[in-house]
Symmetry: C2
Subunit: 549 residues, 2 copies
Amino acid sequence: MTTVSWKERVVEARRRLAESIPAELRIEVPQGKINVQKEGIQFLTKFEKDIISLDATTLLEAIKGKKYTCVEVFKAFSKSAAIVHQLTNSLTEYFPDEGLLMAQKLDDYYEKTGKTAGSLHGLPVSIKDHLELAGHLANMGFVTWAERRSPKNEDGIVKALRQEGAVFYLKTAMPMSGMVLETASNLWGHVKNPYNTNLTSGGSSGGEAVMVALGGSAIGIGTDTAGSIRCPAAFCGLYALKPTCFRFAYTGMLFPSPSQISIAGCPGPIAKSITDVKMFSKFLVDSEPWNSDPNVVPLPWKNDIEHKFKRKLTVGVIKFDGAVMPHPPVLRAIEICRERLQREGHEIIDLELPFDSYELMQNASKMYFLSGFKECKKLCEESGEPLIPALEKVLERFNIEEFGGSVNFKINAYRNGVRKSFLEMWKKTATQTQSKREIDAIITPNSSCSAFPHDFLPWWGYTTTYNVLDVPSLVIPITGEYADPNKDSKDLTYEPINDWDKENYEIYDAEAFSGIPLNIQLVGKRYLEEDLIAIGEIIDRAVNKKGCE
Amino acid sequence: MTTVSWKERVVEARRRLAESIPAELRIEVPQGKINVQKEGIQFLTKFEKDIISLDATTLLEAIKGKKYTCVEVFKAFSKSAAIVHQLTNSLTEYFPDEGLLMAQKLDDYYEKTGKTAGSLHGLPVSIKDHLELAGHLANMGFVTWAERRSPKNEDGIVKALRQEGAVFYLKTAMPMSGMVLETASNLWGHVKNPYNTNLTSGGSSGGEAVMVALGGSAIGIGTDTAGSIRCPAAFCGLYALKPTCFRFAYTGMLFPSPSQISIAGCPGPIAKSITDVKMFSKFLVDSEPWNSDPNVVPLPWKNDIEHKFKRKLTVGVIKFDGAVMPHPPVLRAIEICRERLQREGHEIIDLELPFDSYELMQNASKMYFLSGFKECKKLCEESGEPLIPALEKVLERFNIEEFGGSVNFKINAYRNGVRKSFLEMWKKTATQTQSKREIDAIITPNSSCSAFPHDFLPWWGYTTTYNVLDVPSLVIPITGEYADPNKDSKDLTYEPINDWDKENYEIYDAEAFSGIPLNIQLVGKRYLEEDLIAIGEIIDRAVNKKGCE
């Protein structure tokens, strides 16, 4: 084994990363709480600022329409990314030379042939750590893998991205193992929230969310087994889709314990607009993921689903999951949404989860950590590094040990039971609505917090529930609304109903938690991603007053 | 606990079953080997024989066209079933009074309204033990459940059958726990092969296959986790479909360990014709199973897929899985098929499995018995009965104990690996065929045996492989071809390559194994059941010389 200590390896890895930032883009990072979003990114020209403000769909059109070259677009985003990283600590690798070469080649191709190289021609995409990008770092935040580079053969999403002309130039941080809802590791440190650097970006796809939110990349790809797409997208004011599992390819990724299948994981877009979510989801399905991931269902993308929803919506609201009361900004987001939808004539009915959410979380934890987290503990032992605090807490909180096959069978039966009860609840709404139709979707929080301090263990229930149910869900921000001490004061009369509720209640501080954008989660039916996005577009227009675009 | 011994409970259960057979239908059962299929069913009139010889599709048309009433159809099948059972021991419950009432009601409805009650109006359907039919026995061959009756609420397939006008009048036997490829239990004894009662019907859906083969029911419903649809359908000369998991509803069934999900199980039709397989599969999907089983993928049935195959086929053949050499009649079936397909201009290429089939089986056994078979052993302890011999053997053969979460993760990773390698092999065939297209399907045996003696533990690989891969497969019989000592003499030069191959080789006796119909397994791509059936129709016509029907 190596004689270099894990701390030395960390220093070396961070040094290499820091040195990859060109001298002319290095900045003095201010201490204390910063709202990077508000303060903006230094060194950018007006031209570059215009570029990074566009969503991916508009950007692709602009490149195709020759308003911008791929090189111009790449330069704006990669410059921005270098600065964003210094302020938020969100990268693990930065390789603009490779990106520039790709962009240049794409421009040449377009110039020469008059055709774009693919549907993502020139799109600067950030790549989450554990997606295997040939020759680049992938370590899932483990020091033992600090120098690990991905093999030559790409697969799944990365392969499809390359084929369709996306541009690669950075990899983003994820937390040790991916199994916490923040982005922290001994190797890379903590990823900071773009709106309040004292708080977490959320995780595990925190690096992706920060890059997209601050214009370091045009679109991001998260992966979600417990909330890892939705939590950072929500905390960073973005749109995102966690699809049904095995709708998109889940091959070509690094995992320490690849085959926890009771609650499978899934990849999905993190984006600046719902249009981008739709465009990228369609791209992922159009790439025929069933030809690279044998578990993917061969379900072609359904176009023109919108005609199904040329009527008022009927939407369920689950504001409180019965286990942990969301913080005031989170509750306010739901009420804003309810009010704006009702004002446009959509029907809202209140619903309750048809199972005990705390019990669900206990069962889910056994599914996630069925092996007693053996594989990840072994990776820590290899380098000598300790588990990160949030992981220590989660293993202790759930009394994690290695569980046997009979426990596995029981928790899978439990899983199928809650899926069934959720389906029955959904169907039963047809008898409860004025429209006499079953609900189109459910609005619920993405988290009990709008964001939280680094190294805190938050309640996972609001996201994990929909992983256990394996139903798709969308994150939709409420534009212009932020956690605000004047509107979101602590409810001093509230009496917590369990230990986790108590911790969640106690940590809330209206001042400390301020500035984070509000959002909702929109939950749909299994494998009906197209329907959910179409419903999401209607809700987005109603809530965010975008009129008919 | 009960003070009645398990043997007394068995005697009582069998007595009740025997008494349910009307006195006028009781027969003297001859000793020794019988070919029930050849000798025919006693007591049936020409009119009744005509009815039970029809496939389900033709029968439904005949009822709709008023050639037969539901009561006439029901009486022919139920009379036949009573006699079939006495010769083969294939029922667990017989309740013709209820069936007669259902048939009568359907006739009345049709008479009164001029409309059929549903797409299966008047179809006499056999119901495998563990499908929960309200008020009837369901015990999976466990003595402790000998008197267990299904709850009132039906779900899944049974519910859909009832809604569409199927007629219920019997339940068929399955082996203890369902996890062997014969149909044997301490409770009900052994189900015998219709073509040679010294051999097994196959299992676990042996009761279903025997009833359909001998005209005791018009169609059967099997369930398959390791070969339980395909093995009995093959051994009884029938057509059958094992679909991709979660294409059809898998709710409304009894399981001792409901949630082994590494290799999920699935239900599927066992039928007299491929037309019936198609009709019934379409019915199962048209019933919108995603509204009763939350795990089912909402994939509507694709009609008119046949136009895709208005060209010669390209078919792969995997004759030997590299682990256990099939018996001579099984190998001959593949060669008959190859020859008849080539004669019609279809292209055949030989393929090999891209993984070690023996290793696959070892991993699969850990998936199946992850809990150390605890739940089933407990059920045996409750009544005091022992495990059946084949289960004893399988647990010993695979060194089964309770496996922990880290083993679970490893075998799931193995599973995903073989799925990937199979997909890659399939795609690669495009570079190997003269047509330059990838293969349409794979022809392979359903078993290493054409059938086997009671209480023998056969090699599961030829079926289990396609459960692990979760790809659909069809059983197609080769009409008029049977295991024949004159054509299928033992290969005295063969040298077995492993312990299992040795046992399989040694048990073969051309004389003792004679009379069993030949068949092939046709394997397709995930979730493309419609394509597989369309390909199967072409192969069926070519192999079984049915011309263009």
